[in-house]
């Protein structure tokens, strides 16, 4: 009976509902006239009503996860995603659905008349349904944001580990940011790969941009140095700040097996002299 009324309303007064709904959105809350045009909004709303009507007709009004609601949900996730990318806030996106309540309930009231029990029941059902759909858009919105964040994290990971060839047979790896296990693996792999590709015998790992060094970070560094040594390349660690040197000694980290230099310049000088280059200044 409920479904019948809702379906009947959607069928007979679809145009009115659509008009009210669009007006409501343009006038009031959520929708941002500067982000989305009325035509576009009207098209989205119309398409939603079509699919909504189809889903209501199927009868499974309490379960929006059922097969018959799939078209509605897919439209909603599209809308939510595009809006999320345009910079809508989650509540603005959800308002797209919530603002359908007033036009719909007005129509229900007209249709039911003075039967209070029936009116309450109808309003409760459709309100619950729209709440579910509204929450769904928020969920998708959230999910889109999370996907964006994890993609950016991946990009940052790639960006922050460039291996630079500074001279024939010398590569440098300027590390910036905190080293965790995941990053160390990326760093280690790209460094070793570059050592093979460039045939470099000396690698300089510069940790000027690493804010803190704890035992774990030191262990990661030593692993990288050992792996490079196994492949036949020597590592020099440079850019250890005074504060970090103190911490390392206090933590009892043993770096005696690794060549360390205070600055990148010193490390480069050592690397060049090990490769047999001599730098001289031209006499003026």
């Amino acid at each position: 009976m409920t479904n019948d009324l809702l379906f009947e309303l959607l069928k007979t007064s679809r145009a009115e509902i659509l008009e009210d709904w669009v007006q409501q959105q343009m006038a009031g809350g959520g929708t941002r006239g500067d982000f989305i045009k009325e035509d576009e909004l009207r098209a989205q709303a119309g398409e939603f009503l079509n699919r909504f009507q189809g889903a209501v007709q199927s009868g499974q009004i309490n379960n929006i996860n059922s097969e018959s609601w799939a078209p509605v949900l897919s439209l909603l996730s599209d809308i939510s995603r595009t809006r999320g990318r345009m910079g809508f806030s989650p509540s603005e996106t959800a308002t797209f659905i919530f603002s359908l309540k007033t036009p719909l309930i007005t129509r229900i009231r007209k249709a039911v008349g003075s039967n209070a029990d029936r009116l309450f029941q109808e309003v409760a059902t459709s309100s619950e349904l729209l709440d579910k759909l509204g929450l769904y858009t928020t969920e998708v919105h959230q999910q889109t944001r999370e996907e964006l964040i994890s993609r950016q994290q991946m990009e940052m990971l790639e960006l922050s580990t460039p291996v630079v060839k500074v001279w024939d047979g010398i590569v440098a790896l300027p590390l910036i940011g905190t080293l965790d296990s995941a990053r160390t693996n990326v760093v280690m792999e790209s460094l070793l790969q570059q050592i093979v590709q460039t045939g470099s015998e000396i690698a300089i790992i510069d940790i000027t941009g690493v804010p803190t060094v704890d035992t774990l970070v030191a262990q990661h560094l030593l692993k990288t140095v050992s792996a490079a040594r196994l492949m036949g390349a020597d590592c020099i660690i440079s850019g250890i700040r005074a504060q970090i040197a103190q911490t390392m000694v206090h933590l009892g980290i043993d770096l005696t097996t690794v060549t360390t230099k205070a600055t990148m310049a010193e490390a480069l000088r050592l690397a060049l002299s090990r490769s047999g280059f001599r730098i001289t200044r031209e006499a003026k």
């Binding site: 280690m188 792999e189 070793l192 790969q193 050592i195 093979v196 045939g199 470099s200 015998e201 692993k223 050992s226 792996a227 490079a228 040594r229 196994l230 492949m231 036949g232 390349a233």
Partner: protein, 121 residues
């Protein structure tokens, strides 16, 4: 017994190129062959090329370390060359840093290293 890793002699150096998947018996066979070859030929250096080796386990890693230690007892220097990044990472994760084994990026660098060591002796 059918597959054996060939050991080539170049003047006073021995060259071993591992181009098949190492399994335990093959590794032990190589260890046997190489030590007897060193004492037979009085070789001064051993060059082990593992650039085609893509998978190692702790046993193979340990055998490589052992071969190097045995060669040192027989007064020959061992250089392991061409280790793949993935293999190096695996060995480090296994805790096998092969201390005391000399390493080089490729065969020619390894050869140069052995010649230089011989020269300084």
């Amino acid at each position: 017994m059918q597959d054996k890793i060939p050991i080539l002699q170049i003047e006073d150096l021995l060259l071993v190129s591992i181009q098949v998947d190492m399994h335990d018996r093959l590794a032990l066979q190589l260890q046997d062959d190489l030590t007897s070859k060193i004492s037979e030929t009085n070789a001064r250096g051993v060059l082990i090329d593992i650039s085609s080796l893509e998978i190692v386990d702790s046993f193979i890693g340990r055998v490589i370390g052992n071969i190097s230690a045995m060669a040192r007892v027989l007064d020959a220097k061992t250089v392991v060359v061409g280790m793949q990044p993935a293999v190096a990472i695996t060995l480090v994760e296994l805790g096998l840093t092969l201390d005391g084994v000399h390493t080089a990026l490729n065969v020619s660098r390894g050869m140069a290293l052995l010649r230089r060591n011989d020269f300084t002796q």
